[in-house]
Symmetry: C2
C-alpha cells in the first residue's frame, strides 16, 4: 500500500494565523489521503485543533518557537531563526518527512529558506514563483511572477520548461502552449533579455508559440506565460487591481439608476461567480518551482478555504513526481551557459 | 489677435484612412479655434472633403505621394520616403507651420521620424510615449508606455518630469502625484533600473510619492506612473485585454440564467458607460513627449471620433507651451549623467 503524502503547513504564517490556517489544514484532510504536519507554537496549534474533530493519526505538530515576520530581512531571518515555523517546515521537506510545504508567511523568507534548506534542482539557476492567472478560457500559469528580477535569458528558458511541466502534470493541460511575455508579437521585438530568451526557448522542446502581448494574456492566448519576475509581478498585481477596480466601477454605474439597481439585483449571482474566478482563495497558492520539493506560497490574507486549496494543489505535485521530471527535462540537453 | 493653432494630421495613417481621419479632422473644427493641415494623397483627401461642408479657409492639404506601412522598418521608411504623409506632417511642425501632428500610422515610423525631423528637446535623451489610462477615480498618465525598452535611470527621471508637466498643464491636475512602477512599495524593492531611478526622481522636485505597485495603478494610486517602456507597455496592453476579457466573462455569466438576463437588460446603460471609460476613441491618442513640438499617436483602429479627440488633446498642449516648459524644467538642475 502506498504511504499517504505528508504536507507540512506553516501554522503561524499570514494575517489569519493560526486560526484559519489550522482550520484549512483540517478541512483539507477530508476526501484526501494525506497527513498534515503543522509547524508552529505547539500550544497555540493545540488550542485551535481542539475546536475540530479529526483523525489524530493524520495530524502531527512540529513545535516551532519562532515566527518570521514581514519586516525582517529574509536572509538574516532564515539564518538566525532556526526554530521558526518556516525553517522547520522546510526542514521536514528536506528530510523527507513531508513532500511539500505550504506557507502564507513572508515570500522573501520562504524563498530564501527554501533555497538554503531544501536546495535547488540541478540545472536550475533560480527557483521561480508560479501563479495561476484566471483568463477568459480558464487559467494560465505565469512564471516568474515575482521571485527574480534582472533575470538572465537562461533563467527564462528554465522557467519555460518548469511551467510547461507544471501545467501538464498538475493542472492537466496536454502539451501546454508556452508564450514569452513581450511588447510585440514579432520575434525581433522587445528588450535584450526577451530577444535572447526567445532564441533559447525556441530550441528547448517546449510547445513554444512565440511572443505573447499582455493584451492576449487575459484572453487565454497561452497556457504558460514566461516572464522576468519584474514584468510577471506587474501582470499578477495588475490583474488583481484591475479586476477590483472594474468591479467597483461596475457597482458605481449600477447604483446610478433605478432600472440598473434592479438589474444588478437580478444579476447578482452572475457577479458572484465572476468574483469567484478572481478570488485567490479558490486558486490554491503560488508554487515555487525549481526546488527539490514543493513549496507553495499562499496569499498573506489567506483564510481557511485558501489554505485548503493550497494543500490540495500539493497533492498532485508529489504524486506526479514533479521535481524529478523537471530535473530530467533539464538533463536532456546541454546545460545553459 | 492670437493666431489659431494649426494641427497637422496624417490623413493616410491607420486602418480607416483616409475616410474616418478626414471626417474626424472636420469634426474637430467645430467649437475649436484651430486650422487643420491634412497630409496625404491630395485627390483622396479632396474626395473625402467633398462629403462635408466646412470653412475652407481653415483646412489645407499637404500633398504627400507616399504612405509608410506597418511592415516597413521605421528608420529605412523615414529615410527613403521623404514624401510620405508622416514625413511631411512632421516637417510642418518642424518648420512652424503646424503646432502639432496627429497620426494613426505605424508607431515606430512616427517616433523615428519625429526624432529625426522635429528633434528632441535639449536634455531629453529619449522621447517617450505617454498614455492616459482609465482608473477607478479618473485617469492616470503612464509614461513610457512603449517607446523605449532597456531604459537608463536618467530616462525614467526625464519621463517623471515630462509626465508631471503634461498632467498638470494638459489634463489640469494640480501638483500631480508621481509614482514609480515597481514590484513592492518599499524603496529597496525592484530591479537595478528602478532602484537607481528612485534616487534620481526623489531629488527631482516632482511630487514623488515613491513606488507604486501594479495593483494600485487601476485604483488611481498615482496621477503619473513612470515606467520603462517594457513594463509600461505591459500595463497598457494588459488594461486593454483584461477589461475586454472581464466584459466577456460578465456577459457569459449574465447569459447563464433567466433572472440575470433580465438583470443585464436593465443594467445595459451602466455597462455602456463603463465600456466608454475603456474606449480608446474617447481618450484622445497617446502623446510623444520630449520633442520640440507635439506628436500624438492615435490608435491604429481609430475612427473619426478618436481622431477628433486626438486633435482636441493637441490644443491645450500648444496653448500651454509644453515643449518650452519641459525644456525649462530640465535646465533647473545639473544634467543627468
Amino acid at each position: 500500500m502506498k504511504e499517504p503524502a505528508s504536507i507540512a503547513i506553516d501554522a503561524m504564517g499570514g494575517d489569519n494565523a493560526p486560526g484559519e490556517i489550522v482550520k484549512g489544514a483540517i478541512d483539507a484532510l477530508k476526501g484526501n489521503d494525506i497527513k498534515i504536519l503543522l509547524a508552529g507554537k505547539e500550544h497555540a496549534i493545540r488550542e485551535e485543533l481542539e475546536k475540530y474533530s479529526y483523525d489524530a493519526g493524520r495530524v502531527a505538530i512540529i513545535d516551532a518557537s519562532e515566527v518570521i515576520t514581514n519586516d525582517e530581512a529574509p536572509a538574516t531571518a532564515i539564518r538566525q531563526k532556526k526554530n521558526s515555523s518556516v525553517a522547520l517546515g522546510l526542514l521536514a521537506v528536506k528530510e523527507g518527512r513531508a513532500s511539500s510545504f505550504v506557507s502564507a508567511g513572508p515570500t522573501g523568507a520562504i524563498l530564501t529558506g527554501a533555497t538554503v534548506i531544501i536546495g535547488r534542482i540541478k540545472g536550475i539557476e533560480r527557483p521561480a514563483l508560479g501563479a495561476l492567472l484566471p483568463n477568459a478560457k480558464g487559467f494560465s500559469f505565469l512564471i516568474d511572477s515575482g521571485a527574480n528580477v534582472d533575470s538572465k535569458p537562461s533563467y527564462l528558458l528554465q522557467f519555460a520548461k518548469m511551467g510547461s511541466i507544471y501545467m501538464e502534470n498538475v493542472v492537466g493541460i496536454q502539451n501546454p502552449r508556452v508564450g514569452l511575455l513581450n511588447i510585440g508579437a514579432e520575434k525581433e521585438k522587445g528588450n535584450a533579455l526577451v530577444k535572447e530568451a526567445y532564441e533559447l526557448i525556441e530550441r528547448s522542446g517546449v510547445n513554444f508559440i512565440g511572443n505573447i502581448e499582455a493584451r492576449d494574456v487575459p484572453m487565454g492566448g497561452a497556457d504558460v506565460v514566461v516572464a522576468d519576475g519584474f514584468a510577471g509581478n506587474v501582470v499578477l498585481k495588475h490583474t488583481e487591481g484591475l479586476a477590483k477596480a472594474l468591479m467597483m466601477m461596475i457597482k458605481k454605474e449600477l447604483m446610478s439608476s433605478f432600472a440598473s439597481k434592479i438589474g444588478a439585483a437580478l444579476a447578482s449571482g452572475a457577479f458572484k461567480n465572476l468574483r469567484k474566478s478572481f478570488d485567490y482563495t479558490e486558486i490554491g497558492g503560488a508554487p515555487f518551482l525549481g526546488l527539490k520539493g514543493l513549496v507553495v506560497k499562499a496569499h498573506g490574507e489567506s483564510n481557511a478555504r485558501a489554505i485548503e486549496m493550497a494543500v490540495r494543489s500539493c497533492i498532485s505535485f508529489s504524486e506526479k513526481e514533479l521535481a524529478r521530471r523537471i530535473e530530467e527535462s533539464l538533463s536532456i540537453e546541454a546545460p545553459p551557459k
